[in-house]
C-alpha cells in the first residue's frame, strides 16, 4: 500500500489495565522505536500503531497475551458510505500480486454479536473487491482480510450503526493460546495460590524475560512464575520458605483429590511443558535471611509475595537460647516461623532487588491493598528503582492487588520513606473488616428471619430452647431403638 502503514491491534477485553504496560514492555524488549498512544477511553479494545514495521508488530504479537490479533489497515470509515467510498478509492492502489493469491475474509465486531448469516452479508457488501483479489480459499488462504466493526464500549447503549469500520490484511495472532497450554486444569502440580496462567505470562512479559536470562522467584511456591519465565527462554531459580510445598508434600488443592501423586513436583511441571532444560533449581530458604552470595546478579526478579490471606507472611523467628532438653542430636528441627510484617517484606524485596538485579533488570511483584486505602502514593519506592507501571486487579471482598513493575536505574540508593504505606498492615485490616462485616450481615439476616416468622405466626425457638428440643428428640429416638 502506498503511504504510511498503520496497524490495528485488537485486544481481548480482560485485564484491561495490564494491556498498556504489557505492550510498552514488549516495545522496550524488542527495542522498537514507536510512541504508544494512550487510547481514550482506556477500555477501547483496539489501538492503532503508526510508523512501525510489519516485522515489529509481528514481534509484539509473538509475545503478547493481551492481544487477539494484529492487522495492517487498508481503509477505514465512520459510516458505511464513507467506508465503502474509501475502499473503492483505494482499489487501484492494491498490489497486483493479490489478484494471483487466494484469500479469505474474517469478520470481527465489538459490542454487537452478529450471526453467521449477517457475517456473510457483510462480506458480500465488499463484492466489488473481486476485480483485485484472487480466489477464495477458506482452509489455507495466502492472505486473510479483516473486516472489523466497532460499536463503542457502552454495552447498555449499543448504536444501530458502527462507530468505526476497518478493513485490512490480517498479520498475526497474539499468544492467547499459551495460557491454555499451561492451564492449571491440566498442570501436574498446583497449590492453593498458584498464579493464573494469563497473569503469570503478563508478569514474565513485564519482567522482560528473554532467551538465556537468569530469572529468580524468591516466593516460588509451586513454581507458576518459573514456568512463565521459562516459556520465554529464561533459566529459572526459585526459593520458598515452605519445605513441604517444594517437596510437594502439602495437602492437594484439587477437589476430590485425597493425596498428592508421588511424582508431583515443580520439576515434573517443567517436564510436562518440555521446559526442563531451563529449570535450574528450587531451594528452601527464608527471604528475611536469604542464602545467596552478595555479588550474584539476576536479569529479572518476578514474584507473588504472600499477603497473609491465603498464605501467611512468615520468616524464621529470632530466639535466644533455644531449649535443647527435648532434642536428641540427630532429630530434625523445624524452626518456628513468625509473622513477617508486610511493609518490612516489601522493603526487603526492594533492597534485595537493588542488590541482586543487573542495571535495567526488572522487579515485577504483586502488592495487596484494601480498596479504601488505595491511592497512587501508597506503593513502596526506592531511589535506585524506577516504578514503571502499576496495574490493579480487583479481588473479592473490597480488596485489590496491584502489579508493580520496577526497573533498576542505579547501583545504590535508599528506600523512600512512605507514611501512607506504614499505616497499612494489610492482614490486620483485611481480617478485622471482613469479620465485622460478616457478623453484621449474619445478625441482620437473623433479624429478618425472625420478623418473617412472626408475620406468618410461627414462633421461633431461641438457641437454648432449640438445644433442649434436639436433645429430647435424640433421647426419644434412642429409647425407641432399645425397646
Amino acid at each position: 500500500m502506498a503511504g504510511i502503514k498503520k496497524y490495528l491491534l485488537l485486544f481481548a477485553q480482560d485485564f484491561v489495565e495490564f494491556r498498556y504496560p504489557e505492550i510498552e514492555s514488549l516495545i522496550k524488549l524488542f527495542k522498537i522505536n514507536v510512541e504508544v498512544p494512550k487510547p481514550t477511553p482506556i477500555e477501547r479494545p483496539y489501538w492503532i500503531l503508526e510508523n512501525v514495521e510489519e516485522s515489529e508488530v509481528r514481534q509484539i504479537a509473538s509475545r503478547s497475551v493481551s492481544l487477539k490479533f494484529v492487522a495492517e489497515i487498508w481503509s477505514s470509515g465512520t459510516s458505511y458510505d464513507e467506508f465503502h467510498g474509501n475502499v473503492k478509492k483505494l482499489m487501484p492502489l492494491i498490489d497486483k500480486k493479490y489478484k494471483n493469491e487466494s484469500f479469505k475474509f474474517m469478520v470481527e465486531t465489538y459490542n454487537k454479536h452478529i450471526k453467521l448469516k449477517q457475517r456473510i452479508e457483510k462480506i458480500e457488501t465488499m463484492n466489488y473487491l473481486d476485480s483485485v483479489l484472487g480466489t477464495i480459499d477458506l482452509k489455507n488462504p495466502d492472505n486473510t482480510f479483516v473486516y472489523f466493526e466497532y460499536y463503542g464500549i457502552d454495552d447498555l447503549n449499543v448504536p444501530v450503526h458502527p462507530e468505526h469500520i476497518y478493513f485490512g490484511r490480517y498479520i498475526a495472532d497474539g499468544q492467547r493460546d499459551l495460557f491454555n497450554k499451561i492451564s492449571l486444569k491440566t498442570r501436574k502440580f498446583i497449590g492453593n495460590t498458584s498464579m493464573d496462567p494469563q497473569l503469570s505470562i503478563l508478569m514474565a512479559n513485564q519482567g522482560l524475560c528473554s532467551q538465556n536470562d537468569l530469572m529468580f522467584d524468591p516466593f516460588c511456591g509451586t513454581g507458576s512464575m518459573l514456568i512463565a519465565g521459562a516459556l520465554f527462554g529464561s533459566y529459572v531459580i526459585g526459593m520458598d520458605i515452605d519445605y513441604l510445598t517444594l517437596h510437594a508434600k502439602t495437602k492437594p488443592s484439587r477437589a476430590l483429590q485425597k493425596v498428592r501423586a508421588a511424582d508431583e513436583s515443580i520439576r515434573a511441571n517443567m517436564e510436562q511443558y518440555n521446559l526442563q532444560n531451563l529449570y535450574l533449581d528450587v531451594f528452601v530458604g527464608d527471604f528475611a535471611n536469604y542464602p545467596l552470595k552478595g555479588n550474584l546478579k539476576f536479569d529479572s526478579i518476578i514474584c507473588d509475595p504472600p499477603y497473609g490471606v491465603r498464605e501467611g507472611l512468615l520468616k524464621v523467628e529470632k530466639k535466644e537460647g533455644r531449649k535443647f532438653t527435648a532434642m536428641t542430636e540427630d532429630a530434625v528441627h523445624y524452626p518456628s516461623l513468625s509473622d513477617y510484617k508486610m511493609t518490612n517484606l516489601f522493603h526487603d524485596l526492594l533492597n534485595f532487588s537493588v542488590k541482586h538485579l543487573k542495571i535495567d533488570g526488572r522487579l515485577v511483584c504483586w502488592f495487596p491493598i484494601p480498596d479504601k486505602f488505595y491511592d497512587d502514593t501508597i506503593f513502596p519506592q526506592h531511589s535506585a528503582l524506577k516504578l514503571i507501571s502499576t496495574s490493579r486487579q480487583q479481588l473479592i471482598g473490597d480488596t485489590s492487588r496491584i502489579l508493580l513493575t520496577y526497573e533498576k536505574i542505579a547501583e545504590t540508593g535508599e528506600l523512600v520513606k512512605n507514611d501512607a504505606l506504614e499505616n497499612v498492615d494489610f492482614r490486620m485490616k483485611y481480617f478485622t473488616q471482613y469479620d465485622k462485616e460478616r457478623k453484621e450481615t449474619r445478625h441482620k439476616n437473623h433479624q429478618k428471619n425472625l420478623e418473617e416468622a412472626e408475620k406468618r405466626g410461627i414462633k421461633l425457638m431461641n438457641k437454648t430452647e432449640w438445644k433442649k428440643y434436639v436433645n429430647k428428640k435424640r433421647q426419644a429416638e434412642a429409647m425407641d431403638k432399645d425397646s
Partner: protein, 124 residues
C-alpha cells in the same frame, strides 16, 4: 541441586558468619541428566561464577577437566571449554547430600535434589 546453584549459595545468613563461602559440598547420591548445550547461556553466566567454588566442586564430583584458573575473555569463545563447563554446571544433579558452612560447620541437607537452607531460631 545443580552445581550452578551451588555456586550461588552461601551460609552468610547465619548470624556471626563473615563470608560463608564456598560451602563444603558433601555428595551422597548424584546423577547425570542430559541438558541441551546452550553456549550463550554459559557465556552469560561466566562473569557471575566464583571460580574457586567451581574448581572445588569439579574435584568433588570427579570432573578433572576443569582448569585451576579461568580468564573470562579467552574462555568466552572456547567452545570445548564451554561444553565442559555446561556439563559441570547443568548436567550433574546432587540428589542427596549436604552443604556445610566453612566457618561454623552447620550442615544444610540436600534431599531429593532440594537444598534446605532454612536457619534455626538461634542462628538468624
Amino acid at each position: 541441586m545443580k552445581l550452578i546453584t551451588y555456586n550461588f549459595l552461601t551460609s552468610k545468613c547465619i548470624r556471626g558468619v563473615k563470608v560463608g563461602y564456598p560451602l563444603k559440598l558433601n555428595v551422597v547420591e548424584k546423577k547425570v541428566e542430559q541438558q541441551n548445550f546452550n553456549p550463550e547461556f554459559v557465556q552469560r553466566m561466566l562473569p557471575r561464577l566464583e571460580w574457586s567454588a567451581i574448581k572445588s566442586a569439579a574435584d568433588i564430583v570427579g570432573c578433572a577437566e576443569i582448569p585451576e584458573n579461568m580468564n573470562v575473555e579467552t574462555s568466552l569463545h572456547d567452545t570445548d571449554f564451554l561444553q565442559k563447563l555446561h556439563h559441570l554446571l547443568l548436567e550433574i544433579e546432587i540428589v542427596n547430600g549436604s552443604l556445610i558452612c566453612p566457618e561454623t560447620g552447620r550442615v544444610f541437607p540436600i534431599t531429593n535434589g532440594i537444598p534446605n537452607m532454612l536457619l534455626n531460631e538461634d542462628e538468624v
